[in-house]
Amino acid sequence: MPTFTHGEISIDVDEDGFMQEPELWNEEIAKALATTEGVDNLTDEHWKLVNYLREYYLKFGIAPMIRKLCKETGFPLKKVYELFPSGPAKGACKVAGLAKPTGCV
């Protein structure tokens, strides 16, 4: 299984670079993971999204509905893609240390 290293940080990730142990997540890791998504600088808007995902995840153990994410952060889906070019699931969730959703999605 691959390891992701960035500066001081070294974590286990899966084939697509998602964290294997989401409980180890912290803001430094988020910054580091963001670089793999072509986001070198996490702005307040990025953080708003990431934090929302994080909170939801801690409560429900999974990412929220995309529709809910958009509504509750106030970002239309287009905006989410602007912030994280590979999208809410592959981009934002990865930075927030969430696992990939699986199934018919």
Binding site: E15, F60, I62, P64, T102, G103, C104, V105
Partner: protein
């Protein structure tokens, strides 16, 4: 994926001319974009699958169990004795080639081993070598191959490049169904611990939480409640969406993506609107919160293990019958397997629509009705008021999902529904719809991103037919009744034919449904302004 993405023009450079050398000893190259990742050990272990381990197809050494060949042969013998389909299909193919260019993966890739006949030969050659007299005697000359690690790798590669869509079986003069062969091959691979993660992890999720996504009960409730709230904002109507309610008449089971992903979500809003308007006495279940069943793509045993919850939950909740949502492979399991694997459902009653009184004789044993059957019946009896002009901003076409079309024969019901709620409906060319429909290219548990290139290739025939109606009639919305379609067709169409969105038929029903006490609808369920409103706007602006 993003790094070496090919343009549609590049990807469409396909040659159907096979290479000069024989197919019998070529080896597989695991190139990024064409294969799926190995199962995460935790998921495999949770499902008690054999030999869970860290493993990727690109590894030179697959860490197979010591006696893997013996395991495969034993597994083959067992399955040959259990499945007449397997035995007969191993024996009677005449290699006439009628199936060859019927497979979407062959059309999209030109890889000769994606011809259904040759895909089956990959397995058949080993069968011949070790299970038939001629093969034992003449070996390679009789088309037999000794099982080697390269052949196992080839099985993995090509049997996870088959979506079990059954299109080839429609054309086969003996009805040889590659889906059956792929199922057997996948079961054999599972026996030596070879699984893909996009199937194994949904299995584990589904077993634990009731759905492939792993949505826990409170998360399920949160999502449904969110939809209820949003629906109220859109229409001013607060619908009831009971969860785990005992004593309801009907249990409603939908694919989990309907309450998680877009554009599935709009279909969910459609269900909610319809059930409210007709006053259906129903309940959702957080336990039976998945109609889909990735077990179908893994093994008969796991399919049964996952499917069991539907009847168990209907018994616990004391409902009379079960209604099922828009999903493709889910309906293959419900229509062709559920009664056999987990029936008989004697705790339920023959389904009767409480609104029209129609008795669903065709579902009298399984006691589960497809929502397209249910809704078309409502429409036939004029039990709901509809304003199809609310969908006038959509020029729609309908994509028959493989399983409802070829394993169920559900062809006219969804069309009847669409004709009642959409004024602009155009069929794709005849060779690409109904029983000849083309797969989205991502079915059977391989609709993930690591094999995107193969998905785009496999989806080419479908996308190309969409392009035809897009160019000819200005079609801008593809309707379908499958959650995998809804998930995988948007990126596919975006790639091959930008300008077509994807939706479900009950989204259209939700749009067109005239509800008692509703606000004037300025937008459809997705928030897109309806044509009426748009035209109205232009008029006022002109003035």
């Amino acid at each position: 994926m993003a790094e070496d993405k090919k343009t549609p023009e590049e990807l469409a450079q396909i040659s159907y001319r096979p290479p000069g050398k024989t197919w019998m000893d070529s080896t597989v190259e695991f190139r990024k974009g064409t294969y799926n990742y190995g199962a995460v050990p935790a998921s495999a272990a949770y499902m008690n699958l054999p030999f869970p381990r860290k493993w990727q197809p690109t590894n030179e050494d697959w860490n197979l169990p010591e006696d893997w060949q013996k395991i495969i042969f034993e597994g083959m013998r067992e399955r040959l004795n259990r499945y007449r389909s397997f035995r007969v299909f191993m024996d009677i193919c005449v290699r006439c080639g009628a199936c060859a260019d019927k497979c979407h993966y062959f059309i999209g890739s030109g890889d000769p081993k994606n011809m259904p006949v040759l895909r089956a030969e990959l397995l058949r050659s080993v069968y011949r070598n070790d299970f038939t007299a001629f093969g034992k005697l003449l070996g390679r000359f009789a088309g037999g191959r000794k099982l080697t690690i390269d052949i196992l790798k080839e099985w993995f590669f090509y049997f996870y490049q088959c979506t079990e869509c059954r299109r080839c079986s429609v054309f086969c003069p003996y009805g040889i169904d590659t889906a059956e062969i792929t199922m057997m091959a996948r079961e054999l691979l599972n026996l030596v611990g070879i699984n893909i993660d996009w199937i194994a992890t949904p299995l584990a999720n589904c077993f634990r939480t009731g759905n492939h996504l792993g949505v826990q009960p409170h998360g399920f409730k949160d999502s449904i409640e969110f939809a209820v709230e949003e629906f109220e904002e859109l229409t001013g109507i607060k619908v009831e969406a009971p969860i785990n309610r005992k004593g309801a008449e009907v249990l409603f089971v939908a694919p989990s993506a309907d309450y998680f992903a877009s554009p599935h979500y709009y279909t969910l809003l459609g269900y909610l609107a319809l059930f409210h308007e007709i006053g259906l006495d129903y309940t959702w279940s957080s336990f039976a919160s998945e109609g889909g069943n990735f077990g179908l793509f893994h093994s008969a045993e796991v399919m049964k293990r996952l499917n069991a919850k539907i009847y168990m939950e209907s018994r616990r909740l004391g409902v009379k019958w079960i209604l099922g949502g828009e999903c493709g492979h889910m309906w293959r399991v419900l229509h062709q397997y559920m009664d056999t694997i987990n029936g008989p459902a004697n705790h339920l009653e023959v389904p009767v629509s409480p609104i029209t009184g129609t008795r669903f004789e065709n579902a009298k044993s399984t006691k589960m009705v497809h929502i397209a059957e249910f809704t078309s019946d409502l429409m036939r009896h004029n039990k709901i008021k509809l304003d199809p002009s609310r969908n006038d901003h959509w020029n729609v076409t309908f994509h028959d999902s493989c399983n409802p079309a070829r394993a169920m024969g559900l062809i006219e019901e969804p069309r009847y529904v669409i004709r009642n709620v959409c004024n602009h409906f155009h069929e794709m060319p005849e060779n690409t719809i109904k029983e000849q429909t083309f797969c989205c290219g991502s079915g059977s548990g391989i609709g993930t991103d690591e094999n995107l290139e193969m998905r785009l290739r496999g989806g080419l025939p479908r996308a190309n037919a969409c392009k035809y109606v897009h160019d000819k009639y200005g079609v801008n919305l593809l309707l379908c009744i499958c959650a995998i379609d809804k998930a995988t067709l948007p990126p596919l169409l975006e790639y091959w034919v930008p300008g077509i969105e994807v939706g479900g038929i009950h989204e259209m029903v939700g749009n067109a449904l005239i509800m008692k006490g509703e606000n004037e609808r300025a937008t459809d369920l997705r928030g897109t302004p309806t044509k009426k409103v748009e035209e109205g706007k232009e008029v006022t602006e002109d003035v």
